[in-house]
Symmetry: C2
Subunit: 175 residues, 2 copies
Amino acid sequence: NVAHGLAWSFYLGYLKLVIPALEEQVKKDSNQTGVILHSSRLHILLPLSAVAPAKIEEEDHNICFHQNLTEMQMDRAGVRRRVYKHSIYKITNQEKEYLCLLEYATPLLTLYEMSQDNTAGFSEHDRRQQVLLFHRTLSHILETSLECRNRYRLILIDDQQAAADPHYLSTEIIR
Amino acid sequence: NVAHGLAWSFYLGYLKLVIPALEEQVKKDSNQTGVILHSSRLHILLPLSAVAPAKIEEEDHNICFHQNLTEMQMDRAGVRRRVYKHSIYKITNQEKEYLCLLEYATPLLTLYEMSQDNTAGFSEHDRRQQVLLFHRTLSHILETSLECRNRYRLILIDDQQAAADPHYLSTEIIR
Ligand SMILES: Nc1nc(=O)c2ncn([C@@H]3O[C@@H]4COP(=O)(O)O[C@H]5[C@@H](O)[C@H](n6cnc7c(N)ncnc76)O[C@@H]5COP(=O)(O)O[C@@H]3[C@@H]4O)c2[nH]1
Protein backbone atom coordinates (compact mmCIF):
# COMPACT_ATOMS: atom_id res chain seq x y z
CA ASN A 1 0.00 0.00 0.00
CA VAL A 2 1.69 3.12 -1.32
CA ALA A 3 0.24 5.53 1.26
CA HIS A 4 1.49 3.40 4.16
CA GLY A 5 5.10 3.63 2.95
CA LEU A 6 4.80 7.33 2.11
CA ALA A 7 3.48 8.12 5.61
CA TRP A 8 6.42 6.28 7.20
CA SER A 9 8.85 7.98 4.83
CA PHE A 10 7.36 11.42 5.64
CA TYR A 11 7.81 10.71 9.35
CA LEU A 12 11.21 8.96 9.37
CA GLY A 13 12.80 11.10 6.63
CA TYR A 14 11.38 14.50 7.53
CA LEU A 15 9.03 15.13 10.47
CA LYS A 16 11.14 13.16 12.99
CA LEU A 17 14.21 15.19 11.91
CA VAL A 18 12.75 18.68 11.74
CA ILE A 19 9.93 18.88 14.31
CA PRO A 20 12.06 18.45 17.48
CA ALA A 21 14.24 21.38 16.36
CA LEU A 22 11.32 23.66 15.48
CA GLU A 23 10.47 25.21 18.84
CA GLU A 24 14.08 26.24 19.41
CA GLN A 25 14.42 27.50 15.85
CA VAL A 26 11.22 29.55 16.11
CA LYS A 27 12.50 31.19 19.35
CA LYS A 28 15.90 32.01 17.81
CA ASP A 29 14.32 33.35 14.64
CA SER A 30 11.90 35.48 16.66
CA ASN A 31 14.81 37.03 18.59
CA GLN A 32 16.53 37.94 15.31
CA THR A 33 13.58 39.09 13.20
CA GLY A 34 11.05 40.08 15.86
CA VAL A 35 8.41 37.92 14.13
CA ILE A 36 6.13 36.26 16.70
CA LEU A 37 4.24 33.12 15.70
CA HIS A 38 0.87 32.38 17.28
CA SER A 39 1.86 28.72 17.30
CA SER A 40 5.20 26.97 16.82
CA ARG A 41 3.40 23.80 15.68
CA LEU A 42 3.98 22.68 12.09
CA HIS A 43 0.57 22.98 10.39
CA ILE A 44 0.35 20.25 7.73
CA LEU A 45 -2.38 20.44 5.09
CA LEU A 46 -3.83 17.19 3.73
CA PRO A 47 -6.17 17.86 0.79
CA LEU A 48 -8.38 14.83 0.07
CA SER A 49 -7.89 15.53 -3.63
CA ALA A 50 -4.10 15.25 -3.17
CA VAL A 51 -3.81 18.55 -5.07
CA ALA A 52 -0.97 20.47 -3.37
CA PRO A 53 -0.10 23.67 -5.25
CA ALA A 54 3.24 25.43 -4.79
CA LYS A 55 1.73 28.67 -3.43
CA ILE A 56 -0.92 28.29 -0.73
CA GLU A 57 -2.26 31.85 -1.13
CA GLU A 58 -3.66 30.97 -4.54
CA GLU A 59 -6.18 28.76 -2.74
CA ASP A 60 -7.50 31.39 -0.29
CA HIS A 61 -6.80 35.12 -0.34
CA ASN A 62 -6.93 35.29 3.46
CA ILE A 63 -3.62 33.46 3.46
CA CYS A 64 -0.35 35.12 2.45
CA PHE A 65 3.27 34.13 2.54
CA HIS A 66 5.14 36.03 5.27
CA GLN A 67 8.76 34.82 5.20
CA ASN A 68 10.83 31.67 5.56
CA LEU A 69 12.15 30.42 8.88
CA THR A 70 15.97 30.23 9.12
CA GLU A 71 16.94 27.04 7.34
CA MET A 72 18.36 23.92 8.99
CA GLN A 73 21.22 21.96 7.38
CA MET A 74 22.11 18.28 7.79
CA ASP A 75 24.41 15.75 6.12
CA ARG A 76 22.05 13.08 4.74
CA ALA A 77 22.92 9.98 2.69
CA GLY A 78 25.91 11.60 0.97
CA VAL A 79 24.31 15.00 0.34
CA ARG A 80 26.35 17.47 2.43
CA ARG A 81 24.49 20.24 4.25
CA ARG A 82 21.11 19.27 2.79
CA VAL A 83 18.69 22.12 3.49
CA TYR A 84 15.38 21.78 5.36
CA LYS A 85 13.26 24.93 5.55
CA HIS A 86 9.73 25.95 6.52
CA SER A 87 7.55 28.84 5.41
CA ILE A 88 5.66 31.21 7.71
CA TYR A 89 2.22 32.27 6.49
CA LYS A 90 -0.06 35.02 7.79
CA ILE A 91 -3.75 34.17 7.94
CA THR A 92 -6.28 36.99 8.26
CA ASN A 93 -9.74 36.08 9.53
CA GLN A 94 -12.34 38.60 10.71
CA GLU A 95 -9.82 41.25 11.71
CA LYS A 96 -7.58 38.70 13.52
CA GLU A 97 -4.11 37.80 12.23
CA TYR A 98 -2.57 34.39 12.78
CA LEU A 99 1.09 33.61 11.95
CA CYS A 100 2.18 29.99 11.70
CA LEU A 101 4.38 27.45 9.92
CA LEU A 102 2.29 26.00 7.13
CA GLU A 103 2.84 23.54 4.27
CA TYR A 104 1.15 20.74 2.37
CA ALA A 105 2.12 17.13 3.10
CA THR A 106 4.61 16.77 0.21
CA PRO A 107 4.03 13.00 -0.32
CA LEU A 108 0.51 13.83 -1.54
CA LEU A 109 2.18 15.25 -4.66
CA THR A 110 3.55 11.76 -5.30
CA LEU A 111 0.06 10.22 -4.88
CA TYR A 112 -1.36 12.78 -7.29
CA GLU A 113 1.32 12.34 -9.93
CA MET A 114 1.25 8.54 -9.66
CA SER A 115 -2.46 8.63 -10.46
CA GLN A 116 -1.65 10.63 -13.61
CA ASP A 117 1.05 8.26 -14.85
CA ASN A 118 -0.14 5.23 -16.86
CA THR A 119 2.71 3.00 -15.79
CA ALA A 120 2.41 3.56 -12.03
CA GLY A 121 -0.62 1.24 -11.73
CA PHE A 122 -2.59 3.72 -9.64
CA SER A 123 -5.99 5.16 -10.54
CA GLU A 124 -7.74 8.41 -9.59
CA HIS A 125 -10.21 6.42 -7.52
CA ASP A 126 -7.35 4.74 -5.62
CA ARG A 127 -5.97 8.18 -4.90
CA ARG A 128 -8.72 9.36 -2.53
CA GLN A 129 -8.52 6.06 -0.61
CA GLN A 130 -4.77 6.41 -0.38
CA VAL A 131 -5.00 9.99 0.96
CA LEU A 132 -7.30 8.72 3.73
CA LEU A 133 -4.90 5.84 4.45
CA PHE A 134 -1.99 8.32 4.50
CA HIS A 135 -3.88 10.49 7.00
CA ARG A 136 -4.75 7.52 9.26
CA THR A 137 -1.24 6.06 9.19
CA LEU A 138 0.47 9.41 9.75
CA SER A 139 -1.90 10.38 12.60
CA HIS A 140 -1.16 7.12 14.34
CA ILE A 141 2.61 7.42 13.94
CA LEU A 142 2.65 11.03 15.15
CA GLU A 143 0.38 10.45 18.16
CA THR A 144 2.77 7.80 19.47
CA SER A 145 5.94 9.70 18.56
CA LEU A 146 7.83 11.16 21.51
CA GLU A 147 9.75 13.47 19.19
CA CYS A 148 6.67 14.94 17.52
CA ARG A 149 3.79 14.77 20.05
CA ASN A 150 1.85 18.05 20.36
CA ARG A 151 4.18 19.89 17.99
CA TYR A 152 2.15 19.53 14.78
CA ARG A 153 -1.38 19.86 13.43
CA LEU A 154 -2.73 17.66 10.63
CA ILE A 155 -5.45 19.57 8.76
CA LEU A 156 -7.61 17.40 6.50
CA ILE A 157 -9.01 19.50 3.62
CA ASP A 158 -12.26 18.49 1.94
CA ASP A 159 -11.90 19.80 -1.60
CA GLN A 160 -15.67 19.89 -2.11
CA GLN A 161 -16.12 22.23 0.86
CA ALA A 162 -13.13 24.25 -0.35
CA ALA A 163 -14.75 24.71 -3.75
CA ALA A 164 -17.95 26.01 -2.12
CA ASP A 165 -16.23 28.43 0.30
CA PRO A 166 -13.24 30.57 -0.78
CA HIS A 167 -12.20 31.00 2.87
CA TYR A 168 -12.72 27.40 3.98
CA LEU A 169 -8.95 26.79 4.07
CA SER A 170 -8.05 29.77 6.30
CA THR A 171 -10.97 28.99 8.61
CA GLU A 172 -9.79 25.39 9.04
CA ILE A 173 -6.23 26.50 9.80
CA ILE A 174 -7.19 29.04 12.46
CA ARG A 175 -9.79 26.75 14.10
CA ASN B 1 4.63 -2.74 -1.42
CA VAL B 2 6.64 -0.02 0.29
CA ALA B 3 9.58 -0.01 -2.14
CA HIS B 4 7.29 0.50 -5.15
CA GLY B 5 5.86 3.72 -3.68
CA LEU B 6 9.26 4.96 -2.51
CA ALA B 7 10.76 4.46 -6.00
CA TRP B 8 7.92 6.48 -7.55
CA SER B 9 8.27 9.15 -4.85
CA PHE B 10 12.03 9.37 -5.49
CA TYR B 11 11.39 9.82 -9.22
CA LEU B 12 8.35 12.12 -9.17
CA GLY B 13 9.45 14.21 -6.17
CA TYR B 14 13.14 14.50 -6.93
CA LEU B 15 14.88 12.92 -9.95
CA LYS B 16 12.31 14.18 -12.49
CA LEU B 17 12.74 17.70 -11.05
CA VAL B 18 16.51 17.91 -10.66
CA ILE B 19 18.06 15.69 -13.35
CA PRO B 20 16.95 17.70 -16.41
CA ALA B 21 18.55 20.82 -14.91
CA LEU B 22 21.82 19.10 -13.97
CA GLU B 23 23.79 19.32 -17.21
CA GLU B 24 23.17 23.06 -17.47
CA GLN B 25 23.93 23.58 -13.77
CA VAL B 26 27.17 21.62 -14.01
CA LYS B 27 28.29 23.77 -17.00
CA LYS B 28 27.45 27.05 -15.21
CA ASP B 29 29.13 25.89 -12.01
CA SER B 30 32.23 24.84 -13.94
CA ASN B 31 32.49 28.30 -15.54
CA GLN B 32 32.35 29.92 -12.10
CA THR B 33 34.53 27.57 -10.06
CA GLY B 34 36.70 25.98 -12.73
CA VAL B 35 35.80 22.52 -11.39
CA ILE B 36 35.46 20.01 -14.23
CA LEU B 37 33.40 16.86 -13.67
CA HIS B 38 34.33 13.67 -15.51
CA SER B 39 30.61 12.97 -15.84
CA SER B 40 27.54 15.16 -15.32
CA ARG B 41 25.44 12.06 -14.59
CA LEU B 42 23.96 11.78 -11.10
CA HIS B 43 25.61 8.69 -9.57
CA ILE B 44 23.10 7.06 -7.20
CA LEU B 45 24.33 4.42 -4.73
CA LEU B 46 21.94 1.59 -3.78
CA PRO B 47 23.42 -0.50 -0.94
CA LEU B 48 21.62 -3.87 -0.65
CA SER B 49 21.82 -3.50 3.13
CA ALA B 50 19.92 -0.18 2.88
CA VAL B 51 22.64 1.32 5.10
CA ALA B 52 23.20 4.87 3.77
CA PRO B 53 25.61 6.86 5.99
CA ALA B 54 25.71 10.66 5.90
CA LYS B 55 29.36 10.85 4.77
CA ILE B 56 30.35 8.57 1.89
CA GLU B 57 34.10 8.89 2.55
CA GLU B 58 33.73 6.92 5.77
CA GLU B 59 32.98 3.86 3.62
CA ASP B 60 36.04 4.06 1.34
CA HIS B 61 39.09 6.29 1.81
CA ASN B 62 39.53 6.64 -1.95
CA ILE B 63 36.42 8.80 -1.92
CA CYS B 64 36.42 12.35 -0.57
CA PHE B 65 33.92 15.18 -0.54
CA HIS B 66 34.98 17.93 -2.95
CA GLN B 67 32.30 20.66 -2.80
CA ASN B 68 28.58 21.19 -3.35
CA LEU B 69 27.11 22.15 -6.70
CA THR B 70 25.28 25.51 -6.75
CA GLU B 71 21.89 24.87 -5.23
CA MET B 72 18.56 24.97 -7.08
CA GLN B 73 15.44 26.52 -5.49
CA MET B 74 11.77 25.74 -6.18
CA ASP B 75 8.39 26.52 -4.62
CA ARG B 76 6.96 23.09 -3.65
CA ALA B 77 3.71 22.30 -1.85
CA GLY B 78 3.69 25.53 0.17
CA VAL B 79 7.40 25.54 1.04
CA ARG B 80 8.85 28.63 -0.67
CA ARG B 81 12.25 28.38 -2.32
CA ARG B 82 12.80 24.81 -1.17
CA VAL B 83 16.46 23.94 -1.76
CA TYR B 84 17.77 21.04 -3.88
CA LYS B 85 21.54 20.51 -3.89
CA HIS B 86 24.03 17.84 -4.93
CA SER B 87 27.49 17.00 -3.65
CA ILE B 88 30.58 16.56 -5.83
CA TYR B 89 32.97 13.81 -4.73
CA LYS B 90 36.52 13.09 -5.88
CA ILE B 91 37.39 9.42 -6.33
CA THR B 92 41.07 8.40 -6.53
CA ASN B 93 41.84 5.04 -8.08
CA GLN B 94 45.32 3.90 -9.16
CA GLU B 95 46.64 7.43 -9.77
CA LYS B 96 43.49 8.47 -11.66
CA GLU B 97 41.08 11.08 -10.27
CA TYR B 98 37.36 11.03 -11.04
CA LEU B 99 35.03 13.89 -10.08
CA CYS B 100 31.27 13.28 -10.11
CA LEU B 101 27.92 13.99 -8.46
CA LEU B 102 27.35 11.22 -5.96
CA GLU B 103 24.75 10.37 -3.32
CA TYR B 104 22.88 7.45 -1.81
CA ALA B 105 19.25 6.84 -2.77
CA THR B 106 17.79 8.55 0.32
CA PRO B 107 14.55 6.48 0.40
CA LEU B 108 16.71 3.50 1.44
CA LEU B 109 17.07 5.26 4.80
CA THR B 110 13.30 4.92 5.19
CA LEU B 111 13.49 1.18 4.40
CA TYR B 112 16.26 0.78 6.94
CA GLU B 113 14.51 2.70 9.72
CA MET B 114 11.15 1.02 9.07
CA SER B 115 12.84 -2.34 9.62
CA GLN B 116 14.09 -1.05 13.00
CA ASP B 117 10.69 0.21 14.19
CA ASN B 118 8.37 -2.33 15.84
CA THR B 119 5.17 -0.66 14.72
CA ALA B 120 6.02 -0.33 11.02
CA GLY B 121 5.34 -4.01 10.30
CA PHE B 122 8.52 -4.48 8.32
CA SER B 123 11.26 -7.01 9.12
CA GLU B 124 15.01 -7.07 8.39
CA HIS B 125 14.41 -9.91 5.95
CA ASP B 126 11.76 -7.88 4.12
CA ARG B 127 14.30 -5.09 3.81
CA ARG B 128 16.69 -6.80 1.39
CA GLN B 129 13.75 -7.85 -0.81
CA GLN B 130 12.43 -4.30 -0.76
CA VAL B 131 15.83 -2.83 -1.77
CA LEU B 132 15.86 -5.17 -4.79
CA LEU B 133 12.26 -4.17 -5.62
CA PHE B 134 13.24 -0.48 -5.25
CA HIS B 135 16.14 -1.01 -7.65
CA ARG B 136 13.99 -2.86 -10.21
CA THR B 137 11.14 -0.33 -10.06
CA LEU B 138 13.44 2.70 -10.21
CA SER B 139 15.51 1.24 -13.10
CA HIS B 140 12.35 0.67 -15.09
CA ILE B 141 10.95 4.16 -14.41
CA LEU B 142 14.25 5.86 -15.30
CA GLU B 143 14.87 3.85 -18.48
CA THR B 144 11.53 4.98 -19.88
CA SER B 145 11.82 8.56 -18.61
CA LEU B 146 12.48 11.14 -21.32
CA GLU B 147 13.58 13.65 -18.67
CA CYS B 148 16.15 11.36 -17.07
CA ARG B 149 17.40 8.94 -19.75
CA ASN B 150 21.20 8.65 -19.88
CA ARG B 151 21.71 11.30 -17.22
CA TYR B 152 22.08 9.04 -14.19
CA ARG B 153 23.86 5.88 -13.03
CA LEU B 154 22.30 3.45 -10.54
CA ILE B 155 25.08 1.65 -8.66
CA LEU B 156 23.97 -1.45 -6.74
CA ILE B 157 26.30 -2.06 -3.77
CA ASP B 158 26.73 -5.58 -2.40
CA ASP B 159 27.53 -5.03 1.28
CA GLN B 160 29.24 -8.42 1.57
CA GLN B 161 31.72 -7.53 -1.20
CA ALA B 162 32.14 -4.09 0.37
CA ALA B 163 33.05 -5.67 3.72
CA ALA B 164 35.74 -7.81 2.03
CA ASP B 165 37.30 -5.00 -0.03
CA PRO B 166 37.84 -1.48 1.43
CA HIS B 167 37.95 -0.01 -2.10
CA TYR B 168 35.04 -1.94 -3.58
CA LEU B 169 32.84 1.18 -3.50
CA SER B 170 35.24 3.49 -5.37
CA THR B 171 35.97 0.75 -7.94
CA GLU B 172 32.24 0.30 -8.62
CA ILE B 173 31.73 4.05 -9.06
CA ILE B 174 34.57 4.55 -11.53
CA ARG B 175 33.78 1.40 -13.53
N1 LIG C 1 8.19 19.76 2.75
C1 LIG C 1 9.32 19.00 2.72
N2 LIG C 1 10.51 19.65 2.81
C2 LIG C 1 11.69 18.96 2.78
O1 LIG C 1 12.76 19.58 2.86
C3 LIG C 1 11.64 17.53 2.66
N3 LIG C 1 12.59 16.56 2.61
C4 LIG C 1 11.94 15.40 2.50
N4 LIG C 1 10.60 15.60 2.48
C5 LIG C 1 9.59 14.58 2.38
O2 LIG C 1 9.79 13.63 3.43
C6 LIG C 1 9.74 12.28 2.92
C7 LIG C 1 11.08 11.60 3.12
O3 LIG C 1 12.10 12.24 2.44
P1 LIG C 1 13.36 11.48 1.81
O4 LIG C 1 14.48 12.42 1.88
O5 LIG C 1 13.57 10.16 2.47
O6 LIG C 1 12.90 11.14 0.29
C8 LIG C 1 13.05 12.12 -0.68
C9 LIG C 1 14.47 12.07 -1.19
O7 LIG C 1 14.90 10.74 -1.43
C10 LIG C 1 14.37 12.79 -2.49
N5 LIG C 1 14.60 14.19 -2.25
C11 LIG C 1 13.67 15.16 -2.16
N6 LIG C 1 14.26 16.34 -1.95
C12 LIG C 1 15.60 16.10 -1.87
C13 LIG C 1 16.76 16.92 -1.67
N7 LIG C 1 16.67 18.24 -1.48
N8 LIG C 1 17.97 16.33 -1.66
C14 LIG C 1 18.08 15.00 -1.84
N9 LIG C 1 17.03 14.17 -2.03
C15 LIG C 1 15.81 14.73 -2.06
O8 LIG C 1 13.04 12.57 -2.98
C16 LIG C 1 12.27 11.86 -2.00
C17 LIG C 1 10.87 12.36 -2.02
O9 LIG C 1 10.84 13.70 -1.65
P2 LIG C 1 9.48 14.55 -1.39
O10 LIG C 1 8.40 14.12 -2.32
O11 LIG C 1 9.83 15.98 -1.44
O12 LIG C 1 8.93 14.23 0.08
C18 LIG C 1 9.78 13.78 1.08
C19 LIG C 1 9.39 12.37 1.46
O13 LIG C 1 7.99 12.17 1.36
C20 LIG C 1 10.37 16.92 2.58
N10 LIG C 1 9.21 17.64 2.60
